[in-house]
Structure formats: structure tokens, C-alpha cells
Amino acid sequence: MSGVLHQVLSGLATGSIYASLALALVMIYKTTHHVNFAQGEMATFSTFIAWSLIEAGFSYWVAFLLAVAVSFVIGLAIQALLMRRLANAHVLSAVGVFIGLLLIFNSISGWIFGYTVKAFPSPFESGNEKPVLGGYLSAHELGASLVTLAVLLAVYAFFRFTTLGLAMRAVAFNPQSSRLVGIRVDRMLALGWGLAAALGAIAGIMIAPIVFLDPNMMAGILLYAFAGALLGGIDNAAGAVAGGFAVGVIEALGGAYVVGTELKLTIALLSIVAVLIFKPNGVFGRHVVSRV
């Protein structure tokens, strides 16, 4: 029985990775109704920025804040330079642009920073303390999960209690009407992009100590984050985080006890799709009623 518990713990640890990136996906979805497939690679790039700053001698938290700020600006810039002009283009063209961005960020990360695996420091451990919970969860994994929850609370409060958050939701829901009531639609969209990139940076910096930093760090994570977000409901930050954790646990248990590791991925994704068939808006998602 302890075996199951250990698998659940390691599933939760992995799930925290998915959850943190899922939050960034929710952010961009809530403001633009797009799923940014380049989110993971942008986050990796942000993490490399933080890494270079730390290498250059900056303290961890200065590097952290600078990287998040730079990522925010990159997000704004992408919206202002690219997405704004493509506002009226086909939704598929937007997906095409995301794929382009994915390739660009991935390739540039490798070109500038190299492909060797790099250790990334954690603010929650000095490297030599005793592992917590018998090593099934590291201090960093616990800390990173708490950061994810804190970010979740902040995102929730932002959308729920601030007028800015309300305005952003309005823009996503109905840009025309928003413009009519005086909301600067472009600004809101840019802000959404900036915030999503910033959340991605936080996710990347929290993930890197666990999986090690390399240009392809997020390649596999994005799909799971996407699946987690949809499982929980992509318009619901709390749902997405829960979905991320759930995917981690499903995957660990499925691989260890159900089908073996060679079909682990297959079974994880199949079960997610199965859930979605019965709960098409995600487990915590709102059912959207569209007007005819």
C-alpha cells in the first residue's frame, strides 16, 4: 500500500509541474480565447534569462524578478507586433503563428545557451538538507507547489476582484461590446499576453530545478499542461491547477500499476479524453450556453 502512496506523491510532484504551466495557458485563454502552443518554449527562454542573470552574479530573487519582468515585456511585444495585426485573421493562422513562435524560441534558446543540461538553483533548498517525506517529495517540489497555489490565488483574485481583471474577461467574452463601453481592447489583450508570459516565467523557474534546464525542457510538459487545463476546465484557474495535479497522479498510477510504462502516455491521454467525453467542459468548467 505504501507503494501506491509513494506513486501518488511522485505523481503530485510531477503534477505540480503541469499545474504551473497550465496556469499560464489559462491566463492567455481567459483574455484571448487562444491556446498559445509557444507558451512552454517562451517559459524556457525566460528561465534561461534568469539562469544567465544568476550566472552573471545576480542574487536569486533579483534574477527572478528581472526575468519575470523581461518576460512580461516580451509578451506585450508579441501581442503588439504580431497578434494585434492578426486580430482579424483566421483562428488557424493564429495557431500557425504560435507554431512559428515555438520554433523560434526553442531554436534561439539552443543557439544562445547550448544544449547541455544545466542545474538551476532552488530558493527552497541549499542542496544538502535531508529530503522531506522520505525523498518522495523534495523540499523544492513542496515549495514550488506552494508557489503555484499562491499564483493561483493571485490569478483568481485578479480576475474576481479587480476592475482590470473584469475588463480583461469582458474583452475575451465580447471584444466589440467591450470597446463600446470604453475598454481599451488592445491594451487588455497585450496585458493578457504579458501576464501569461510572466506566469510562464515563474513556472519555468520553478520547474527547472526539478527537470534540469535545457532548450527542450518544456516540450513534453506543454501537452500535459494542456491536457490538465482542459481536464479541469481551461477557463477556470483553480480547475486547471487541479487538472494538472490530477494528470500527474493518473500518469504515475497508470504507468506503475495498470499498463506498464511503455504505454503510460497512451493510457494517461486516453483516460483524459474519456473524462472529457463525459464532462465536455472539464470537470470544473462552466457550461457555456451560446445564443443562437
Binding site: 511522485s10 509541474i17 547550448g114 544544449y115 543540461v117 525523498g135 520547474i207 500535459y224 510504462t261
Partner: protein, 412 residues
């Protein structure tokens, strides 16, 4: 069982004799009629496919190193007055593109031969084509065992010790030194991982299922392998064979340590780099790990003042300034390049494809200075595995401490 491996190898050698004679006969017959495609009085044109794009782009460093190395050779006057013109093109690690690019190199560019093309699936896709066209496919950059099949593919040759041979060495070590071993295996679910598992099977034979208490796989796209390590630990294994690429190698070392699991831990030489695996994982967490190595590790302090590695460092600082000195691919590419240089020197002025192949199969105790002391490059018409030696080494917290004699597949 040791016997079955012995069997396999002996049979290979017996059959080899006859096969090699035909192969050699075929090649020498051709030689007379062949002109020298891709070769002029001033230049030798060489083709190569590399994953400069796509998810294997980390290996692009090998191609870039070879381009730089040949520039250095050319700066020094080339080989017999001929400059090396390496046309290294991107295939994105996608077999259909490898076919397309290889055909371009052979049919349009008219290269003399292909050199150090990277990847198992990619090389498999052009294996038949190049052999039918009788274009040498020299020193392919992959550790699959099939590149030494001189009988059926006399125009293809590997370079590094094959994964399978390496795994056999670990398996033999386990049988001889670790009585009561309960083996847990973690392998990447692709040709690389499965070759190692097959190598273990060669030696363990019927006892594989009894000796190996648990074998689990991971996908190269998985974010972590934590769950797999937990599974292996709870299986009661006391020997851990870690068949992973560097990122997961480092993750596994750390996780095994954090769990308080203390198995006898073997890691493949793919992930034995000090700078790219051991240091990120934590030097103290890796103490006691065993690997079979053949290259001098560019990040191991043991080689800080080694003349061979100093040559490499001088080359890197002059011809690849700014490149990542932790990256073992730079050493690998340098070694392959130097081996080729020797082959071309041996060719003299007969740079026909047949003679290039004949000289590639005619290397005797070649000392490539980035190989460990005592490990030499040897080929013959019946040996298309240029490097088949490894030495076991144990990580002592500071360096890879080599122990025991140099092991080779032929010595079994």
C-alpha cells in the same frame, strides 16, 4: 548466459572470414574501374546529414565541430594537398529528410562519401541506398550494433562502441561480481534503450527474467522519471542499470539518492559526462556509480593537463570560440574527424570510393588522442566496429576512477 554471447561472437567470426573475402573481392574488383567521384586535385567533397533543427538538435554540435576541425586541417594545408570540403546539411532527425538530403549530396553535389551521419533511424533510412550506390557511409554517429554488418553492408561502418557491447560488459560484470543481484532497469523507449536491454539479454539469457526484477521505460518527451524510480526501488532491486540520455540520467541519480535507495548503479557512457550529468545531479550524489567509458571526459579534472585533451582545448578555443566546453559532443566530433583524417591520409592519391572503404577497414592501433589510454581504433575487412573497447570506471566524487583491464567484445 555468457555462453550464448560467446556463441554469437564466435559464429560471427567464423562466418566473417568468408563474408569478408567476398566483400573485399567486390571492393577490389570495383577499384580498377572506379574513377574518383567528389575528388579533384585540390578538394575532397564529403557529405553529412545532421539534426541542426528539430528535437535532436543538441547533436548538431558534432557536425559543427567537424566543420571546424576540417577548417583547421585545411588551414594546415589539407591532406595530400587537398582541402576537405564537408557539406553538412540538416535533416531534422527525420528519416524522410535524411533520404532527400543524402540523395542531394550524392546525386547533385557528387560527394565522395558520407561521413558521421547522425542517428539510428536516419542512417537506417539511407543504409540500403548508399550500399546499392556503393557510396561509403563512414563512421556513422550512432551506437546501434547493426553498423558493423560488413557482410551485408560492406559500405557502412560505425565508430563508437555499440550500445549492445557496452550492455554486455555491464551484464558480465554483474554476473561475475554481484552474486545475488536483483537488477532493475530504466531504459528509454526507443532503439537506443532497447539495444542496451538486448545486450543484457545476450548475457543473462534464460536467466534474464529471474535476474531482472523490474524493467521500466520512459519516453524522451516525459518531463520526469520519478515515478519509474519509485517503481524500481519498491521492486527490491539492488542493482540499477540506468539507460538514459543526460537529462534523465541526472534526474535519476538525484532521485535514487534522495530516496535513500543505494543500489549498485550503472550508467551508460551516453550519460557519464561530468559537466552535463554528474555535476547537475550533484557530485556527492553520484558517488559509487559505475560506467563503461572510452572517451576522455572533457569535464573530468583527471584530464585537465592531458596533452591530447590540451590539443582539443587549443582547437576549441581557436576554431570554436564561445562553444560550450561542457558538451561531450565536441569531443566526439573531434575524435570522429581525426579518424577520418587518418583514413584519407592512408588513401594517398587513390581516393576512389573503393579505396576509401578499403583504408577505413585498414586501421591498426590508431591512437586518437581523445580516447582513453590503451583504447585504440582498429578495423579490418572483418571488423567494422572501429572502437570496441571500454574500461569500467567508478565515480569517486571527484573523477571517474578507472579500474580493471580494458574490456573488449572480442575478448569474451
Amino acid at each position: 548466459m555468457t555462453n550464448s554471447a560467446k556463441h554469437r561472437l564466435t559464429r560471427r567470426e567464423v562466418l566473417g572470414g568468408a563474408g569478408a573475402m567476398t566483400a573485399a573481392a567486390v571492393i577490389s574488383q570495383r577499384a580498377a574501374a572506379d574513377d574518383m567521384p567528389g575528388v579533384t586535385a585540390t578538394e575532397i567533397k564529403i557529405g553529412q546529414t545532421m539534426p541542426y533543427s528539430g528535437n535532436a538538435s543538441a547533436y548538431g554540435a558534432i557536425g559543427r565541430t567537424e566543420l571546424a576541425l576540417f577548417k583547421m586541417i585545411n588551414d594546415q594545408g589539407g591532406i595530400n594537398g587537398r582541402k576537405l570540403n564537408l557539406i553538412s546539411v540538416d535533416d531534422g532527425y527525420l528519416p524522410p529528410r535524411t533520404v532527400e538530403q543524402t540523395r542531394r549530396l550524392v546525386e547533385q553535389e557528387g560527394v565522395a562519401f558520407m561521413f558521421n551521419t547522425l542517428g539510428t533511424p536516419t542512417n537506417t533510412a539511407i543504409h540500403k541506398y548508399l550500399n546499392m550506390k556503393k557510396v561509403p557511409q563512414l563512421f556513422v554517429a550512432t551506437g546501434a550494433d547493426k553498423w558493423g554488418d560488413y557482410k551485408h553492408y560492406p559500405w557502412t561502418m560505425g565508430w563508437q562502441p555499440s550500445y549492445r557491447i557496452e550492455a554486455q560488459i555491464y551484464a558480465k560484470y554483474i554476473l561475475q561480481n554481484l552474486p545475488g543481484a536483483k537488477v532493475g532497469i530504466l531504459y528509454q523507449n526507443d532503439d537506443f534503450g532497447k539495444d542496451y536491454v538486448n545486450g543484457m539479454k545476450d548475457i543473462f539469457g534464460d536467466r534474464f527474467d529471474k535476474l531482472v526484477v523490474k524493467a521500466v521505460s520512459y519516453e524522451s518527451t516525459d518531463p520526469t522519471i520519478d515515478s519509474q524510480i519509485v517503481t524500481l526501488q519498491s521492486s527490491g532491486a539492488n542493482v540499477f542499470v540506468n539507460i538514459t540520455i543526460p537529462k534523465f540520467g541526472a534526474q535519476a541519480i538525484r532521485k535514487v539518492y534522495d530516496l535513500g535507495w543505494r543500489p549498485t548503479h550503472f550508467i551508460t557512457n551516453v550519460s557519464a559526462s561530468v559537466g552535463a550529468v554528474i555535476k547537475p545531479a550533484g557530485v556527492e550524489k553520484a558517488v559509487g556509480i559505475i560506467s563503461g567509458v572510452y572517451l576522455k571526459d572533457n569535464t573530468d579534472p583527471a584530464w585537465a593537463n592531458d596533452p591530447g585533451m590540451n590539443e582539443w582545448r587549443a582547437f576549441m578555443s581557436k576554431y570554436m570560440p564561445g562553444a560550450d566546453l561542457n558538451d561531450v559532443n565536441h569531443v566526439f566530433g573531434y575524435g570522429c574527424g581525426l579518424t577520418l583524417v587518418q583514413v584519407l591520409k592512408q588513401c594517398g592519391n587513390d581516393l576512389s570510393r573503393a579505396n576509401i572503404m578499403r583504408q577505413a577497414a585498414n586501421l591498426h592501433d590508431l591512437d586518437v588522442k581523445i580516447l582513453l589510454p590503451g583504447i585504440k581504433v582498429n578495423t579490418s575487412p572483418t571488423n567494422y566496429h572501429p572502437i570496441r573497447q571500454l574500461q569500467l570506471a567508478k565515480w569517486n566524487g571527484k573523477t571517474w576512477e578507472r579500474f580493471g583491464e580494458i574490456l573488449s567484445a572480442t575478448a569474451t
